[in-house]
């Protein structure tokens, strides 16, 4: 491993007409790090995420993943490589499918690249599907969803869907995961489980994280470094303790 950050963003801007939703943000995530991204509502966190992951096109700036310039790549271009994956603020799962199917789909494109090779004919293809299922089952066990694995994902609770989404993102063995409010709208019991899963993925699978989160306890317990956005600009950066003490950050949250 070299010392290069896994994700290196410089001068990222996104304007909608006259509104600058993201205004020249520099941010990096080191290898093996869990980095937090916080800020009041409307501070541009989600837009920032969208620009980094290709859901929106940045107006200016550069995004480097693992040293490679991926600025302006589409969501699909980035996802197909399987190095950096993202979750969505509003949890989404393939609702009609059971958990195992959800996970298998999430891992498929890395096992079967291309279109014609995906018709799954032949023993080799079947073995690969079997291996995918095996991995899916392992992750389902780790996520603690074994008992409900045959239920359609759409019928499960919001928290369980978050866990499915999280487990899905581990299928292709990514290097970096961007989570958009992973704890929003889930009950406190499950919060601990999601936190544990993130920590486990970080330590056992070596996945780095960039996490948008409002729950300050979660941020404090998971992240060593936190970046604060306000009105599209980087307001502060530091350890959770420093951030909590920071006067400017307090004012931003209080609308001062």
């Amino acid at each position: 491993m070299n010392g290069l950050p896994i994700l290196d963003i410089s001068g990222l801007c996104k304007s909608y007409g006259a509104v600058r939703a993201v205004d020249g943000v520099d941010l990096h995530v080191d290898r093996g790090e869990i980095c937090g991204l916080i800020g009041p509502n409307g501070s541009g966190k989600s837009t920032f995420f969208d620009c980094v992951t290709g859901l929106a096109r940045p107006s200016a700036g550069a995004v480097k993943l693992d040293g490679q310039d991926i600025t302006g790549w589409s969501l699909n271009d980035i996802a197909r490589e399987g190095r950096m994956l993202r979750s969505f603020q509003k949890t989404v799962v393939f609702s009609a499918l059971d958990i195992e199917e959800n996970l298998v789909i999430a891992g498929q494109m890395f096992t079967f690249p291309g279109i014609l090779s995906t018709f799954g004919i032949g023993a080799a293809a079947r073995n690969r599907v079997a291996a995918l299922r095996e991995r899916a089952r392992e992750l389902i066990k780790i996520a603690g969803l074994w008992d409900v694995r045959f239920q359609p994902a759409g019928k499960l609770s919001g928290g369980q869907q978050k866990l499915i989404q999280f487990a899905s993102m581990l299928m292709p063995e990514p290097k970096l995961i961007l989570l958009d409010e992973p704890m929003a709208g889930i009950n406190p019991k499950l919060i601990e489980r999601v936190v544990d899963s993130i920590r486990l993925a970080n330590t056992s699978f070596g996945v780095s994280f960039l996490i948008i989160e409002h729950n300050i306890d979660v941020v404090t317990s998971l992240c060593k470094r936190v970046v604060v956005l306000d009105q599209g600009r980087k307001l502060a950066e530091g350890t959770p303790d420093e951030i909590v003490q920071n006067q400017a950050v307090r004012e931003a949250y209080l609308g001062g």
Binding site: F94, M109, G120
Partner: protein
């Protein structure tokens, strides 16, 4: 212990569509296939004719099911591809006297190829605009068939299309008569069903379902949704083309009426009424709806009205088609075991 029990009882969930995955139950399927094979022994020519039409419409319906039921794209263009397939076969047979299997293959290849330039712009549109666009293809197809008189003979259509004949070296064989055609169509319909089954069960099929369930999420897990939609659009067109070819060779005439919206809606009703996203539902749907239109011929004046009321009833009582009923029937049987 509970784990093991669950594994056995929930086995169907292994299929691609977890909730409606009971597409194929071997014994029941075998009985149906056996029945289909001996049907000419106890069915007269007229019911056999109705089943032939049903099986011909099963092909475009299978195609539409791949597109709508599995990939989540509503298209009304099936009649256009059905017509293109019919005209391709008819023109080849009438002008060049080529054997049936060549006409048949050509119909599928040509419609699949035509779907490429049509699909590229159409699939860029959002849901409702895409539907309107595919509707346009049917109207354009009909206009071309009507007005390109030097090729299609306009409203007079192409007549005297030979019955399917096969030539293999010195041996040749003509399928004439209802029974012969019945077996030909049955074999092709069975192959088409098998093809759909293999596609749907494959990793590609799982990706199609992912696109239907949530396109953005599908993109975020790396599925190239745009290419998938285009390829599935072409495959579904090819299925319609194969159906059109059979239609032309069965009726031995094609006219601009082959391109009619009524056919697109029929295929749509087969898929939605039978159960979008299931194979057995679509087979059931094609038999039921074609059978129903034939059965209602006893009251010609009331036919379309009765058909309309039937559809209304369907929408109210079985909003997701008949397939869930079949599924419920299976789980009922399983519970009794």
């Amino acid at each position: 212990m509970t784990e093991i029990v669950r594994d056995q009882t929930m086995a169907p969930a292994e299929l691609p569509v977890a909730e409606t995955g009971r597409d194929f139950r071997v014994p029941f399927g075998l009985v149906l296939v056996a029945l289909a094979c001996v049907a000419p022994l106890f069915l007269g020519n007229y019911p056999l004719h109705a089943i032939i039409i049903a099986l011909i419409f099963l092909l475009p319906a299978h195609g539409l099911n791949l597109l709508l039921g599995y990939t989540g794209l509503l298209s009304l263009a099936q009649a256009a591809f059905f017509g293109i397939g019919a005209y391709t076969s008819a023109l080849l047979a009438v002008h060049f006297g080529t054997p049936f299997y060549l006409n048949f293959l050509a119909a599928g290849v040509v419609t699949g190829a035509v779907a490429l330039p049509l699909g590229i712009p159409a699939l860029r549109l959002r849901a409702t605009s895409f539907v309107m666009c595919t509707l346009g293809f049917v109207i354009i197809g009909q206009a071309i068939a009507k007005n390109w008189i030097s090729l299609t003979r306009g409203d007079m259509g192409l007549a005297a299309i030979p019955k399917p004949y096969f030539a293999l070296g010195p041996a040749s064989f003509t399928v004439s008569g209802t029974v012969g055609f019945y077996y030909l169509v049955l074999a092709i319909a069975a192959l088409a069903t098998l093809a759909v089954y293999l596609i749907v069960r494959s990793p590609a099929g799982r990706n199609m379902i992912a696109i239907r369930e949530n396109e953005t999420l599908a993109e975020s897990v790396g599925i190239p949704t745009w290419y998938y939609k285009l390829v599935v659009f072409m495959i579904s067109a090819a299925f319609a083309g194969f159906g059109g070819s059979l239609y032309a060779h069965y009726l031995t005439v094609v006219s601009p009426l082959t391109f009619q919206m009524y056919y697109s809606t029929t295929m749509l009703i087969i898929v939605l009424g039978g159960g979008a996203g299931t194979i057995s539902g679509v087979i059931f749907g094609s038999l039921l709806f074609v059978g129903l239109t034939e059965a209602l011929r006893v009251a010609p004046e009331l036919r379309m009205i009765a058909y309309g009321f039937f559809l209304l009833g369907l929408v109210f009582w079985f909003p997701s088609g008949f397939a869930p009923l079949i599924g419920r029937f299976w789980s009922f049987l399983e519970k009794r075991k």
